[in-house]
């Protein structure tokens, strides 16, 4: 079983936004997708996922609607709004800069 890494502060929103940029998704789907894309390194706790979704919704970056899931159940789907897309671009940029800078400081491993 791969080792899980705790999420640094502030990256959860970014991950959620990135995931939703692919397609509208429900909460469980989001956590599954993050886990898949990170090859099981990152895991989002439900305890922080749902508050984050509500927070993003309040900021107007994400909107929610009820839909039907792939197994034919009623589920709440989240999708990016225009503002959310802009936010994602901005956060991605600053993340890349940060990562590069941190890597620079740490030097070659």
């Amino acid at each position: 079983m791969p080792e899980h890494i705790g999420l640094p502060q502030g990256t959860l929103d970014l991950l959620i936004l990135r995931t939703l940029a692919l397609e509208p998704q429900h909460g469980w789907g989001i956590s599954e997708r993050v886990q898949q894309m990170s090859r099981d390194v990152l895991r989002i706790q439900q305890g922080s996922l749902y508050p984050a979704l509500h927070r993003l919704q309040r900021r107007g970056w994400v909107k929610a609607r009820w839909g039907t899931s792939e197994n034919n159940r009623r589920a709440k789907y989240y999708e990016l709004t225009k503002a959310g897309r802009r936010q994602l671009t901005a956060e991605q940029d600053s993340w890349h800069k940060l990562a590069a800078a941190v890597a620079q400081v740490l030097g070659p491993a």
Binding site: G27, E32, Q46, P51, H54, R58, G60, S69, K76
Partner: protein
């Protein structure tokens, strides 16, 4: 932003639905997770366990979601409100004092603002009333005077600053008909008055331009109340006639109910109707009772209009030196004319109630600070277990909010607006109505919020400054905590300063009213009743009929039981409704046109002086023999005698009314007596020159009947009515008042201001005494241990008492010093209300400062005495 609000609002207003959705969502998630685990081949039992584990506390997740949705802010507020209510209920003494104090402050503000709104702020019922101006002429000898019709017409032709000018004459009528005869008043206006001011009759029509010329058939607009009382509000009454002064006027319309004018208006007639029955319109020197209403043109302001009008007046003075020499023009905004009398008084009162509110806020703030000190351990504990400073400050503010709102509600209920509005003399209100209204409520709400911040801020900031360590350590308080104590001392000083300002204001008012009341009016007002009659119908066009009427009235009234004397006269004290004329003294050079002596003329019957109690200084009073064909005689007053006959006896001298004209024989009148000056024009006004004429030699249609009785003069009213009705049943009687009432009316504004101001300052005194008492006694309680230590170390009770009194003296000393300085600056604003007292009257200032010092000392003495009960052995063992 919008999104944010909508989102919060949805979770706030539809909490159940939002919660249910969250439940569904989480259940869906759990099921999917469970399904996944099952697929991977774990037992159902194990899968369930893992899901539960991953979810952590379900309630915690939900709570976090709620926080994230941002409703927590409001929920917190609700919690705080509930908690606040609970704590307030738990300390009823504190709550009662705080609420009561605030209710007084807010109530007083609400009451005074309702007056201010009604009188000064509520828009006048005219279109764009801010651009309406009243114009008068001025005359250096008497000040503001009426406008002459001829001058008005020149103004209208020459002025460009005004888009329109309208003349407004004050008129009076005797209204007779099937009901009791009534004396009513109204205005005669140029036809453009209605369009200029934007008044539309609710029924019928306004006036047409042709109705400005003499010869206009009598038509009138009725006021709404008169239409109601005479015609029962019947719209079909349009076109029917009313009998005014015995003439049939066709009623062409009804004014809207909200219409009001500077003076009482029952009817409006076009000026052409007035010109038909008056012949003074063609004489430039004739100034009736007229002012001019002007609307400023779109491109001009009042200053431009003033300078333009001054230019016009100067040209007219040059063109017509005989009538217009040195005559100027005076412009006043319509609002000022409406509220001129009471404006200074209510502004002073507004200042007073603001101070009362400030004192109340300081007091409540002090209460909160004290409570904050008591609860500092509670606050420290709450902070220790994780409450943020903001949260604690918020909670203290919430309690403040509760107190402010409750106190405000009580204050608005207490305001007694109706009481205040009945205190104010109707005459000085010019039809303004005072009452609770939307803007007044809004104002009170703003006051509530402002006072909440005023008294809540300091305690809120202080509550969070608690030092966890020292607060939580048991028994750490051997000595006095400085910071909070300093705040309270500052607040108490401020209260004293505010109270001093109020007391100085009230003191100055008391002194001037006292001076005013001790002025000798020159009248003996006791047991005298007066009433007015104006003979206006055709039958009184000739002098003999007029004289006959007055003689019959006098004979009839003098024969009534209980009547000691009766007289008629045109001069009544404290009315400014006088006829004036130029006079020329025999043997003196003819003065130039602008400097003729211009005394007031009064027509009186024999017995007038004795009935009114006016002293005769020299010579004789009028006799029944001073009749139509007897030699012409006059009385003059002291001021005239002094000015026109300096150093010699005027009795026997002769004067002529009007200027000498070539080719007209002199009509000399012999001075037979000199009478004492009276305060005819108001107790605060200087005496003017006066000439009295016997009523049979200068018949006057409008007279006041004055009757001196043996007993209560008011009891004679109905008997007098019967006497008049027996002579002419259509003759109305107006203005029935005792002379005492007449004398009281003009000072009523001052008196009411005084009453309210005294009330407010007593309130302020009590509040500030409570304030300083609270601060000192609290600090004594806090220093219990310190005092114990001092005494254990050998301090005498006297020393300790001095320590406490010293603190009080410092607080009140600073307050008094600041208050005195501020008063010196502020009382200048009330100069208009003072009479023969300087706004910086040293005696008043000194007395008030002394009074406050005494009260403060007394307030400190009680806690100081308590120190003598401190037993060092107990104090040291405490905690």
């Amino acid at each position: 932003m919008w999104q944010d609000l909508m989102f919060r609002a949805r979770s706030l207003f539809r909490p159940r639905q939002v919660e249910a959705e969250l439940d569904d969502e989480l259940r869906f998630h759990a099921e999917r997770q469970l399904g996944q685990y099952l697929e991977s081949g774990i037992t159902r039992e194990e899968a369930r366990r893992r899901v539960r584990l991953e979810f952590g506390g379900l309630d915690q997740v939900k709570e976090d979601c709620r926080d994230a949705r941002g409703i927590s802010l409001i929920e917190t507020l609700c919690h705080d409100l509930r908690y606040g209510l609970r704590t307030l209920r738990k300390s009823p003494g504190f709550t009662a004092v705080a609420l009561f104090t605030l209710a007084l402050g807010i109530g007083a503000n609400t009451a005074i603002f309702s007056v201010i709104y009604g009188v000064l702020l509520r828009p006048l019922p005219y279109r764009d009333s801010g651009r309406l101006v009243i114009l008068n002429e001025t005359n250096p000898r008497v000040g503001m005077v009426s406008v002459s019709q001829m001058n008005f017409e020149d103004w209208r032709r020459q002025s460009h600053a005004f888009s329109e000018l309208a003349s407004v004459y004050g008129v009076h009528f005797n209204l007779s008909g099937p009901k009791q005869p009534e004396g009513i008043s109204g205005i005669a206006v140029t036809p453009n008055f209605l369009t200029l001011s934007g008044i539309d009759p609710i029924l019928g029509r306004g006036f047409s331009a042709s109705e400005e010329k003499a010869g206009t058939p009598p038509v009138a607009l009725l006021s709404y109340p008169l239409w109601q009382s005479r015609f029962g509000g019947d719209p079909k009454a349009l076109g029917s006639t009313v009998s005014l002064d015995g003439r049939a006027y066709t009623m062409t319309g009804v004014l809207p109910p909200e219409f009001r004018w500077v003076e009482q208006v029952d009817v409006i007639e076009p000026v052409g109707v007035l010109a038909t029955r008056n012949d003074g319109f063609e004489t430039r020197g004739n100034r009736g009772d007229m002012m001019v209403l002007g609307r400023l043109g779109p491109n001009s302001n009042r200053e431009q209009a003033r300078s333009e009008m001054e230019g016009i007046a100067a040209r007219l003075a040059q063109a017509y030196p005989l009538e217009n020499a040195r005559c100027g023009v005076m412009l006043r905004p319509l609002r000022e004319v409406f509220s001129g009398d009471v404006r200074p008084a209510i502004l002073v009162l507004l200042g007073a109630v603001v101070f009362v509110l400030l004192i109340a806020c300081a007091n409540v703030s002090n209460l909160f600070l004290m409570r904050g000190a008591v609860r500092s351990r509670e606050m420290a504990l709450r902070m220790a277990i994780g409450a943020s400073r903001g949260r604690i400050a918020g909670q203290v503010l919430t309690e403040g909010f509760l107190v402010a709102v409750l106190g405000g509600a009580a204050g608005i209920a207490l305001a007694g607006i109706r009481g205040i509005s009945t205190l104010i003399p109707r005459a000085s209100l010019a039809g303004a109505s005072i009452g609770m209204s939307g803007p007044v409520l809004l104002f009170s709400a703003a006051v509530v919020l402002l006072s909440m911040f005023a008294f809540g801020l300091a305690p809120a900031l202080h509550s969070t400054s608690a030092n966890l360590q020292s607060e939580l350590k048991e028994g750490a308080k051997a000595t006095f905590a400085r910071g909070r104590g300093r705040w309270r001392a500052v607040l108490a000083s401020a209260e004293i300063a505010f109270a001093l300002i109020l007391l100085v204001g009230a003191g100055l008012m008391i002194r001037s009213l006292y001076r005013l009341l001790s002025v000798d009016s020159g009248f003996r007002a006791g047991h005298v009743i007066k009433l007015n009659m104006s003979l206006r119908t055709e039958q009184y066009d000739k002098d003999p009929a007029v004289l006959n009427f007055w003689q019959k009235v006098l004979d009839g009234v003098r024969a009534l039981p209980g009547v000691r004397s009766a007289a008629v006269g045109t001069s009544l004290p404290l009315t400014d409704d006088h006829w004036r004329d130029d006079i020329w003294v025999e043997g003196q050079p003819v003065p130039d046109a602008a400097s003729f002596p211009h005394p007031d003329m009064h027509v009186v019957s024999p017995g007038f002086l004795s009935t009114m109690g006016i002293r005769l200084l020299h010579g004789r009073a009028f006799l029944e023999t001073d009749r139509e064909n007897a030699p012409l005689v006059v009385l003059v007053n002291e001021t005239l005698a002094r000015r026109l006959f300096p150093g010699r006896d005027p009795v026997g001298g002769r004067i002529q009314l009007g200027r000498p004209r070539p080719g007209r024989p002199h009509k000399w009148r012999t001075i037979v007596g000199v009478m004492a000056d009276t305060k005819m024009y108001g107790l605060a006004q200087p005496a003017r020159m006066e000439v009295y004429l016997p009523y049979r030699q200068d018949a006057s249609n409008g007279m006041a009947l004055v009757v001196k009785s043996a007993g209560d003069p008011a009891a004679l009213t109905s008997a007098i009515h019967r006497v008049v009705a027996s002579i002419d049943k259509d003759q109305p009687i107006v203005g029935v008042q005792t002379l005492q009432q007449v004398m009281n009316d003009p000072i009523s504004t001052r008196r009411i201001t005084l009453i309210l101001l005294s009330l407010f300052s007593v309130l302020a005194l009590v509040l500030s005494a409570i304030g300083i008492y609270g601060v000192v006694s609290y600090s004594v309680a806090q220093r219990f241990r310190e005092i114990g230590i001092r005494m254990a170390l050998g301090a005498q009770r006297r020393d300790v008492r001095r320590l406490v009194l010293g603190q009080g003296a410092r607080i009140s000393g600073i307050g008094i010093a600041i208050g005195l300085a501020a008063s010196l600056l502020l009382t200048r604003l009330m100069t208009k209300l003072l009479y023969s007292v300087s706004a910086a009257d040293p005696a008043t200032f000194l007395l008030v400062a002394l009074l406050l010092a005494l009260v403060a000392l007394a307030a400190c003495y009680i806690p100081a005495r308590r120190t003598t009960r401190v037993d060092p052995s107990i104090a040291l063992r405490q905690d």
